[in-house]
Symmetry: C2
DNA sequence: GTGAAAGCGCTAACAC
DNA sequence: GTGTTAGCGCTTTCAC
């Protein structure tokens, strides 16, 4: 059964040249109707399917885009990437493009994976996610002819197409909301500051404090690592302070959910004794009435793909830079500040 | 800059034939040391990187494995797949294999995606996840020469390599545990029964009831859909019964977490008024002290990949079938059955 | 409308 | 040791 069926096979079966077979199958219209029918029939009968690798080599196009996920440690810990992949995958499927995916921890191996895809000519374009300070991936890709889009801005002096959520505005809004509920001691569990979005979120928080003349207390800012464990640790640190915060904002939902749990353990009633909020609105967050900023990750995946597809097609982009406003979702985990 | 550097380029620069260049670069030892050095140098200088597509065509090997995720609807909703992808991606990276990923809802499009990968010769092997009743993917692949492994067993009369968790034993254990705590009215939020694992889990639950002479009450079994929303709906249905269950088991954590939240809404104290348990032990579950069965999804991803790699290499498998025992993790969400 | 020839970039068999 | 030739399976001129 595994006798390979190629154009040649069909050519031999029909007595027509490989060229004609190719043209008939590709749907060219300069082929006589009856030859086409004959070829189609033979192809169906033989179970022909084009060898995509051969086609790629010939066309110098892979119809594939690349995505390299920056992992960290054995556990992945974030529904975030699931959503993103689904968005990208679904959109790419609409365009008939495949997705080549790798997982690699930041570092030299990661760049090697990029080189592998780019210089090995395995993809027509790339999506970079979770941009970092002085992002080497961006720097590398910018020196390349390959189209790419990023989820996240950059501090490099390079112009490239991206989509980002406006974390500054989001966390400003959220902090502002908490302040309006009487909170002045607001803890902040940050993401690692080498991730660019972490900085924006922190800035939004700081701006809100400033505009409300609330002094910035460095003790209230803890650098978490976006994981459950990090959220747990950071929350404990905050709750052990002599004057503990009445509210805690975490840079992502996963850490906020951890905070929820730790606070309960401390006997605090969520939304009354302490307010807690996050960022992302990932699936389990609504279950726990977590106040958060909604970031439509699935849709962002689709948008990124749509942008990249246009770039690959050589079409102009209407917007090279898209800054999405996250939506504040107020739930039960935040409330009036306690009278202290 | 984008002048393609191929073997030919190096050949011209060094005055050596393409063949020799190829051999030197691939590390054959039948090349004179000085020619090799000369070639290496030229390659480095020119920034040569092999065209992987060309190599694939020639070697009839793609060094790529495929994974098609069965998605359903716009939201993906499950940290489960993130973990799995990380496991697969990390292991494949160790083998130097790439991962070609698609997302497709079950149906004809899905099979088309499989055909695309298989018959288009895009991959050397495939991983099938979440097996279903009369799984057409398995049936299709079994009729193919391509190596594949599955996460999940099958009800088809086909022998194929798989890894599965023993959901029957897991849910038997869990149900048994609840019964030993005095529960006799135990609700069960099932996964869709076309998913094979759903049946095993249900059977484990039923066996535990039977062995303890507790009559099976069909009203207590609701078919959920593994999502947050499904868990919510199903829980409400259970809690509205005239004699409501004192415990609820859900086929996955996401639904169990929903149940937790709904029960709270009903004013029930978790672990006292009602016991709730799930399956998976995904990241947020420990935060909410959910009793559950731990399934090491990341590791399963690695194991699946290791198996597939062996198959591709033509090495024999030590175990064609691996049935993992999930580990019962007892947390605060379950406790003694209330009196009454 | 159809076919012959060339070539995408690589590796492998076989000379020399 | 190195080069020549052939070929992986496809598409694309360019004749006829």
């Amino acid at each position: 059964m595994s006798t390979r069926v190629t154009l040649k096979t069909i050519s031999e079966h029909t007595g027509l040249s490989v060229t004609t077979v190719s043209r008939a199958l590709t749907g060219y219209d300069d082929v006589a109707v009856e030859t086409r029918d004959k070829i189609m029939e033979a192809a169906a009968e033989l179970g022909y399917y084009p060898n995509l690798t051969a086609r790629q080599l010939q066309k110098q196009r892979t119809d594939t885009i690349g995505l390299i996920l920056p992992t960290s440690g054995p556990r992945y810990n974030d529904p975030y990437f699931s959503e993103l992949i689904a968005g990208i995958g679904d959109e790419m499927a609409d365009y008939g493009l495949d997705l080549l995916l790798s997982t690699r921890a930041p570092g030299s191996e990661e760049i090697a994976a990029y080189r592998h895809m780019v210089e090995g000519k395995r993809v027509d374009g790339l999506i970079v996610v979770r941009t970092r300070k002085q992002d080497e991936r961006i720097a590398y890709l910018a020196g390349t002819a390959l189209p790419f889009v990023a989820f996240g801005r950059s501090d490099l002096e390079i112009d490239f197409p991206y989509i980002d959520e406006d974390g500054e505005s989001g966390f400003f809004q959220l902090t502002q909301h908490l302040i309006s509920q009487g909170h002045t001691r607001i803890g902040f569990i940050s993401a690692p500051l080498n991730l660019l979005f972490a900085n924006y979120r922190l800035e939004g928080y700081q701006r809100a404090l400033k505009e409300n003349n609330i002094p910035f207390n460095p003790e209230y800012v803890i650098q978490g690592d976006l994981t459950r464990q990090g959220g747990d640790r950071s929350t404990r640190q905050l709750l052990q302070l002599s004057t503990r915060p009445t509210a805690i904002i975490a840079a992502n939902d996963l850490m906020a959910l951890s905070a929820l749990s730790v606070a309960r353990e401390y006997g605090l009633k969520i939304g009354r004794d302490i307010s807690i909020a996050g960022f992302d609105d990932v699936p389990p967050s609504d279950i726990f009435s977590l106040t958060t900023l909604r970031q439509p990750i699935y849709d962002i995946g689709r948008l990124l793909s749509a942008m990249l597809f246009k770039l690959i097609q050589g079409e102009p982009l209407t917007d090279r830079h898209l800054l999405l406003k996250p939506k504040l979702i107020i739930r039960q985990s935040t409330g009036q500040a306690p009278q202290s």
